[in-house]
Amino acid sequence: MTGRTLAEQQPPGPDRDLAVGLRGASIGYGDVPVVQGVDLTVRPGEALAVLGSNGSGKTTLARGLLGLASVLGGEVTVLGAPVGRLRDRGRVGYVPQRHTVSGAVPATVREVVGVGRLARRGLLGRPTAADRAAVADAIEAVGLADRVRDPVASLSGGQQRRVLVARALAAEPELLIMDEPTAGVDAANQQALAGVLAEVSSRGTTLLVVTHEAGPLAGVLTRAVVVDHGRVRYDGPLAGAGPLAGDAGHHHPGDPDDHPATGYRQHQPWTSSRPVRARDGEQ
């Protein structure tokens, strides 16, 4: 595969300089591996898409980096430390795959985003002026400054997703891991998100975005890794990921590896444009 060769042309430096390093890594739950034998190096400042169909293992890969799935073999380093021994997890930002913020008790935008700052405040630390400023900046960055006091439940789905992005940004992370940030979000909110990520990336933050449709973020993400059946099938420029993945000669229904020319629209979701609702919750 050309893509794999591209990545190999740049030999990985020492792991401690990497944002993410996987060597022959197997990741899974209990003792069942979902992802197997994955080699991947992500340098600081890179903007990477992890592509794949449902059940391909792309989410498990990301969860392994977050300590939410177990490393069953090989090596996984995050920000230079083996994933289990990363002391300061606050340096890693996380936007979970979730549609809405849903607690039983109402919470404001500021309260939810404030949680993102906790990891930076030590065990008992009270919020300092710097903490408050970081929270305010994160809310500002996602364009919700006029909604800080509103209950999150009163926001539209796309806006709630932006609240979760702000929560991750409040920690001022060096590595930002997002799981399907654009799924189920209307075009306007997808554009807003792309703008936020471009800004975050320009500040040197490493981005790792798990998605089945990199299209909306194509301007931000430059490199793509395609995961299929728990293995990396492609690693190279984002632009080459769709057709290359389709050439893998690996076709079965529901698999996004299919080439656009096959006509199965749902089989190449990250190059398709999604239908846009006439009206979004933005007022």
Binding site: G67, P96, P106, P151, A183, A278
Partner: protein, 342 residues
């Protein structure tokens, strides 16, 4: 206020004041975590402590506290293992607690105060000065911990996985919360009884959750509601001669039903008004579009239409498009969202 002339009533009111304040402050995290019945289970476990306390002639309050906290820590460790057998383990712990308590109390030598009812349903007027001092310490500890760790407890209760991913000490915080619940259980034992404890933790929070706009507001409101129903219930029970625990809980339930009804009525009127308008426009089907005769008014990502002096905004649903009065549906259901998710 003749009620305040009696020392036992003064002690009773003081005890109910502390319980009313502390129980909802802890309970709101259980509501957020959808673990409302944890307090109930720990109440069962505390009965073993009471049994041990009575049998060994030490203070039942202290022994109950030890038993409940030990049970709470055990529960969190079982939950952290995350196995399906955890559910059965909890059942064993809870029912083992109440069964052990009943058996131990029955073994107490005759002549000792082993009134099971008093522990199960509360006996506020038997609160001694010593109990009151212990309750005071427990209350101060509970409120201090909530003040210190409240935001972290909220984080863990709201999104445990996220808290784990960003490195918050999830297990420790869960154990702290469980220990707080255990302390509250023991604190509330005299006032509402071990079988009704959960109600005083959960109901004020349930009311507050319907009214508040922020978590902080909900927490303060829940404490306020707890304080009022607790004092009012205790006072009422003095005049009616009914048990304080049951009276307090019935008051809280009445308040909850009242507020839930009011909120439901408010929402239903809003929906009916919306349906009437939709029906009105269905009567003269007309799809707005270019050159439809109504003045187009661009608004953000969509175009509204001036329809006889009011703005119509397109609203797409699964069955097609209709037009709302402008400003309706601030939170459209995420319609297309489910399709593309793994």
């Amino acid at each position: 206020m003749e009620i305040l002339q009696y020392e036992f009533m003064q002690r009773a009111l003081l005890a109910s004041l502390m319980v009313g304040l502390a129980a909802p402050a802890v309970g709101i995290f259980l509501v957020q975590r959808r673990l409302s019945l944890l307090g109930d289970g720990l109440g069962h476990v505390a009965l073993v402590g009471v049994g041990v306390g009575v049998l060994t002639s030490t203070a039942p309050v202290g022994a109950a506290l030890v038993a409940a906290i030990a049970g709470a820590v055990l529960i969190e460790l079982v939950r952290a293992r995350g196995r399906t057998s955890g559910d059965v383990a909890l059942a064993v712990l809870f029912y083992g607690g109440i069964a052990g308590g009943v058996v131990l109390l029955s073994l107490a030598p005759s002549g000792q105060a082993t009134n099971l009812d008093a522990y199960l349903f509360g006996a506020i007027t038997t609160t001694s000065a010593g109990d009151l001092a212990a309750f005071g310490v427990i209350t101060v500890v509970i409120l201090s911990v909530v003040w210190l760790l409240g935001q972290r407890l909220y984080a863990v209760s709201d999104d445990e996985e996220y808290a784990r991913a960003v490195g918050l000490p999830v297990l420790a915080l869960n154990v702290v919360l469980a220990a707080l619940v255990a302390s509250t259980v023991v604190l509330s034992m005299r006032v509402v009884g071990l079988l009704l404890i959960s109600a005083l933790m959960i109901l004020p929070s349930a009311v507050a959750q319907l009214l508040a706009g922020s978590f902080r507001q909900a927490l303060l409101l829940a404490c306020g509601i707890g304080l009022v129903v607790s004092l009012a219930g205790t006072t009422a029970s003095y005049y009616t001669g009914t048990p304080s625990g049951g009276t307090i809980v019935l008051l809280a339930i009445a308040l909850f039903l009242l507020v839930a009804l009011a909120v439901a009525v408010r929402e239903a009127t809003g929906r009916r008004r919306h349906r009437r308008k939709v029906g009105l426009h269905a009567a003269h089907p007309h799809e707005h579009g270019e050159g439809c005769g109504h003045r187009p008014v661009p608004h953000g990502d969509h175009v509204d239409y001036d329809h006889d002096g009011h703005l119509h905004a397109p609203h797409r649903t699964g069955t097609g498009v209709h037009y709302d009065e402008h400003g309706e549906h601030p939170v459209p259901a995420p319609v297309e969202g489910k399709a593309g998710r793994p």
